[in-house]
C-alpha cells in the first residue's frame, strides 16, 4: 500500500515536471493561421511606420542631440532581418539607383548636406499578401511613397517623390532577453527597393 502511494507521488511529480518543461519551451507553431497572418500584417505596417519615424528623427536638423539620432539608428536597424539588408536610393537628376546597407544608409541621411530635411511618408500599404516560402518563412511586400525635400538657407534646393517597396518577412526567431529565452514568430523588414522616382 505504502509502495503504491510512493509510486503515485513519483508519477505526479514526473507529469508535473514534463508539463512545466513544455510550458517553458512553448514550441512555435509550424504554420501560421489566417488570423495570425492578419495580426502580423498589421504589425509589419506598424514597423514600417516606426521605420519612417526613426528616419524622420535621424534627418531632423532641429534635433542637436546626436545620441538620440544614433539610438534611432540602432532601433531602426533592429526592425530589419539583418544589417545586410539593402536600401536603394534614387535621385531625380540621375537614372542610376544605388544600394546601401541599412546602417550605412541611415548614417548617410543623418549627415546630408542640407540645412533642413523634410521626409514625408504616405500611402503605406500592402501590395502583396503574405505567402509561405519553401524555407518555411512568410513573405509579403509593403509599398509606400517618400517625399524628400532638402533645404539650404531656407530655400528648397532638392525635391523628389519616390515609390519604394519593402520586403516583409515573418520568421521564427529565438531571442534572449536577460535570462529569458523567447522563441516566436516575428515580423521583420527586408530590402527596400526603388520602384519609381519623380
Amino acid at each position: 500500500m505504502r509502495k503504491i502511494a510512493i509510486v503515485k507521488v513519483m508519477i505526479f511529480f514526473l507529469i508535473a515536471s514534463l508539463s512545466v518543461n513544455a510550458q517553458e519551451k512553448q514550441p512555435v507553431e509550424k504554420l501560421l493561421g489566417a488570423e495570425d497572418l492578419k495580426i502580423f500584417a498589421t504589425n509589419a505596417l506598424q514597423k514600417t511606420k516606426e521605420l519612417t519615424k526613426y528616419i524622420s528623427t535621424i534627418t531632423d536638423k532641429g534635433i542637436k542631440d546626436n545620441e538620440i539620432k544614433l539610438e534611432a539608428t540602432d532601433l531602426a536597424v533592429e526592425l530589419f532581418v539583418s544589417e545586410d539588408n539593402v536600401v536603394e536610393v534614387s535621385n531625380a537628376n540621375r537614372s542610376e539607383v544605388i544600394g546601401y546597407k541599412i546602417r550605412e544608409y541611415l548614417n548617410k541621411i543623418r549627415v546630408l548636406a542640407f540645412t533642413k530635411v523634410e521626409i514625408t511618408f504616405y500611402d503605406v500599404q500592402y501590395i502583396s499578401e503574405f505567402k509561405k516560402g519553401p524555407d518555411g518563412k512568410y513573405y509579403g511586400v509593403i509599398t509606400f511613397f517618400q517625399k524628400f525635400e532638402g533645404y539650404k538657407e531656407g530655400k528648397l534646393v532638392y525635391k523628389d517623390v519616390t515609390q519604394k517597396n519593402i520586403e516583409v518577412v515573418i520568421d521564427k526567431v529565438t531571442t534572449m532577453y536577460g535570462s529569458k529565452k523567447v522563441e516566436r514568430w516575428n515580423v521583420l523588414l527586408g530590402n527596400i527597393t526603388v520602384k519609381e522616382t519623380k
Partner: protein, 258 residues
C-alpha cells in the same frame, strides 16, 4: 568755510563775468589782483561803477550735499534693521513660519493630486487626446492610407527657463513614468532626462518588456531599448498590463499595451 577765505561777487546785472552761473564768485586772490595802488577795484568788465563786493555770510555758496555718503549710511542702517527683523522673526515668529510651510506643503500636495488625476490613462479625455495617426490606423486595422510623419516636437529650448521641468520629474508610478517619456508636450531633452529615473525601477537594463497593440503581441524589447523607442516615437498611450517584481521591489518583467 574758513574765515581766512573771502569770496566776492558782482551784484550788477550787466556784468557778464560775474553772471557766469557755473562760477560766479571771485576769490580773494583774484579780487586783490583787481585792486589798484589806491585800493580801488578795477572792474574786469571796464565798468565805471563796478559792482564787485565781498559776499555777505548768508550769500556764501552752500556746500553740495554728499549723496554718496548719505546713500552708504542709509543702506547700512537698512541692512542693520533687516538683520534685526530677521533675528526677531527667527526666534519669536517660528510658529508662523511653520504654519506658512505647512500651507505650502498642502498646496503642493493638492497640485500633485490634480496632476496625477489628469495623467491617469484610459480616461475619456486621455483617449480623446490620442491623435497619433499611426496608432489610429493600426487600431482601425486599416490597410492603406496616407501617413504624414510628424517630426518629434521640441517645444522648449534647451537650457532655457522651463516650468514643466519639475513636473516631468514627479513621475510617480512606472506607468506614469513611461507615459511621460513618450509625451511630446515635453521637450525631447526633458523626456530623455527622465530615462534613468524610470530605468531605476527595473532590476537591470535587460529586463524584457512585452509590447502588445490592441492586446495582440507586437514585439519584445529589453527595457533600455523600449524606453528609447517610446522616447523617439513619442508613444504616450501606454498601460501596464502586468509587472512582476523581485524581492527588492524592482521590476524584472513587464507587459504593456499601447
Amino acid at each position: 568755510m574758513s574765515d581766512s577765505i573771502k569770496l566776492y561777487k558782482c551784484y550788477k546785472g550787466t556784468c557778464s563775468k560775474c553772471l557766469n552761473e557755473e562760477d560766479p564768485y571771485i576769490t580773494e586772490d583774484e579780487y586783490k589782483e583787481l585792486l589798484d595802488a589806491d585800493g580801488k577795484v578795477q572792474c574786469p568788465e571796464g565798468h565805471l561803477d563796478c559792482g564787485i563786493q565781498e559776499l555777505k555770510p548768508e550769500d556764501y555758496p552752500k556746500p553740495p550735499k554728499d549723496n554718496k555718503k548719505l546713500f552708504i549710511i542709509g543702506g547700512g542702517i537698512l541692512i542693520v534693521v533687516l538683520l534685526i527683523a530677521g533675528v526677531v522673526f527667527m526666534f519669536s515668529g517660528k510658529s508662523k513660519y511653520d504654519k506658512a510651510a505647512s500651507s505650502m506643503k498642502s498646496v503642493g500636495n493638492a497640485v500633485e493630486v490634480i496632476k496625477d488625476s489628469l495623467d491617469k490613462p484610459n480616461t475619456p479625455d486621455s483617449k480623446a487626446a490620442d491623435n497619433n495617426p499611426i496608432r489610429q490606423e493600426v487600431a482601425s486595422g486599416n490597410k492603406d492610407q496616407s501617413m504624414p510623419i510628424a517630426k518629434p516636437k521640441v517645444e522648449e529650448k534647451e537650457g532655457g527657463i522651463d516650468k514643466s521641468a519639475s513636473d516631468i520629474l514627479t513621475a510617480s508610478s512606472l506607468e506614469n513614468g513611461l507615459q511621460k517619456i513618450g509625451d511630446t508636450k515635453y521637450s525631447l531633452s526633458q523626456r530623455k532626462a527622465l530615462l534613468p529615473k524610470v530605468l531605476s525601477k527595473f532590476e537591470n537594463s535587460t529586463v524584457m518588456v512585452t509590447v502588445s497593440m490592441n492586446n495582440n503581441k507586437f514585439e519584445y524589447f529589453t527595457v533600455d531599448k523600449y524606453l528609447n523607442r517610446i522616447l523617439i516615437q513619442g508613444i504616450k498611450n501606454i498601460s501596464v498590463k502586468n509587472e512582476t517584481k523581485n524581492n527588492a521591489g524592482l521590476v524584472n518583467e513587464l507587459s504593456v499595451n499601447e
